[in-house]
Chain length 321, copies 2
């Protein structure tokens, strides 16, 4: 028997990507030049785009379904940062010729799984060949009621600073994967947090009308808080003791106290960082969030350690260039 | 004097990309997690996405302003294929570390020039570093009145097939750039057509209510006509003699008649390919379009040569994989 003919561009779109459209009207089974989308009356469209490069944003040998899910979740986290209800996405994939159908099948399965989890569908895309590393970019869409989107710029002096979930797990997981901490054998759960972020889509909707400023933590807590400070023309003080830590992260810090800097400045938490008026603190009680500090007049982010002294967090935060 | 510190991600966004937003409300100067866009009441959003890789879709040494403009125009051509009015775009750029500021300045200047030409603005983006080739992806947005978008699927048997402009220039220009045709020293104008497509944005709007099916020619006339045939469940016959050719292309064919195949199957014309009811042919009179054939019952595209015989165009059309 002759080996099966490899799929061409149109074949792979038909087999792996067309099913991801869910037959949605206006997407035309990915067989037209563009998609046509209705934005519900009385809603604004929210648009975000992110690119991921193998060897930079993920490891080439990562499981393809996890690469797919992380790609979607990075974008969903940006939608959450604006308190948008996710709607769908388009995707541009530059595939190395070495990718095989088994990889594509896993990639498509990961997309399908998170589409179901977050109620989104594929709206369109482009697949090209690249002589370089696998490069993926997604533009994701959500909707928001006009004027209800969360912004980075609305914080006021005296507002409390809060974060969702736990901080630092992803960066510690990456450090373990890269064997960057001698003698550090952290929990598998940290690695999972790096491989599969948990965008705070549902929580974000509960912050509408409560948060005065918000963003998602992708470049690291300290660097991202600096963005809120800059956008709001304020400074911030956070207390390291108040940082919400997972048990695995707590264990790492007990053995490697210097890794507090990784927690503070490591990227890819994909948790929400937001501010609320101090007098509304009680409204956070039922939410998975922790108050870690306060906005102040001035500028810059100060982190106070357990000893009451400022912690130097310079050089923190991921920079691409 | 110390050399100027190289720009980081945020610095280059502020210097080169922020001005491209035109201060548009909802884009927040590119300083928030996502953009917020109003789709005008009574319009549907049209979304298309394309990826371009250096060494695959353009030459690494091409002028950066031309790379930028081609990137936008490829997407504008897809919007034209749906008869959408362009609105704006987001862009994901994976930059090799070797790119310098001079390159970026040229790239941004090219974007600015075509933004002005096509009345669009930058709505958002992501810039990352890549160890591979420069990889660009754009998601472009337009709007259309519901039900007025042009589709690939509406052709009927007996409809006339027409194309805009001239066909084959871009593919012949590329062949010259690549020195693929021995002794061929075609006109510079052909190379310009390859480097800078002319998306048919304005013409497309004039085809609303007239064309029964439409798409833009990116993979080559024969391959793209096959897409209309498939979507419309019909066959097509076109006459090679009727192909609209530029004078430079005519000169090439006079010396290299075998290059007719390049004209028929070469990609990146970015002209419109569409069908209209035969009885409305007169309405094309004032438009820069040429009737080249007819839709028929059956399937597949047949090209008839000057001698009345069918031309074998197999292996035609650009395939990425």
């Amino acid at each position: 028997m002759a080996p099966a003919k490899p799929l061409d561009e149109f074949g792979l779109i038909a087999r792996y990507f067309r099913p991801l459209t869910g037959g949605r009207e206006g997407v035309f089974n990915l067989s037209d030049d563009a998609a046509v989308l209705d934005v519900p009356t009385g809603r604004r469209l929210v648009i975000t785009t992110d690119a991921l490069v193998a060897g930079v944003h993920f490891f080439t040998e990562d499981a393809p379904d996890l690469i797919a899910r992380k790609m979607l979740r990075v974008n969903l986290s940006d939608l959450a940062a604006m308190a948008a209800v996710p709607l769908g996405y388009v995707m541009a994939c530059a595939f190395p010729k070495s990718l095989n159908e088994q990889w594509l099948a896993g990639f498509a399965a990961g997309l399908a799984r998170d589409q179901a989890e977050y109620a989104i569908t594929l709206l369109g895309g482009d697949t090209v060949a690249t002589p370089g590393p696998l490069t993926l970019s997604v533009t994701a869409f959500g909707t928001v009621e006009p004027g209800r989107e969360l912004r980075r710029s609305g914080a006021r002096a005296g507002d409390l600073i809060a974060v969702s979930g736990t901080i630092g797990d992803s960066a510690l997981g990456l450090a373990r994967l890269q064997s960057k901490i001698p003698g550090f054998v952290g929990d598998e759960a940290l690695i999972e947090r790096y491989l599969l972020p948990q965008p705070r889509v549902a929580l974000a909707l509960q912050l509408i009308g409560l948060a005065t400023a918000a963003m998602d933590i992708s470049d690291g807590l300290v660097a991202d808080l600096a963005h809120i400070c800059e956008a709001s023309n304020l400074g911030a003080v956070i207390e390291a003791q108040k940082l919400p830590l997972s048990n695995p992260a707590r264990n790492v810090l007990a053995a490697h106290p210097e890794q507090l800097l990784t927690v503070l400045t490591g990227g890819e938490d994909f948790e929400l960082l937001f501010t609320i008026p101090a007098e509304r603190k009680a409204e956070l009680a039922r939410l998975p969030v922790t108050v870690i500090g306060r906005m102040e007049d001035g500028q810059g982010t100060n982190v106070i350690g357990a000893d009451g002294r400022a912690i130097d967090t310079h050089q923190g935060g991921y920079r691409h260039f």
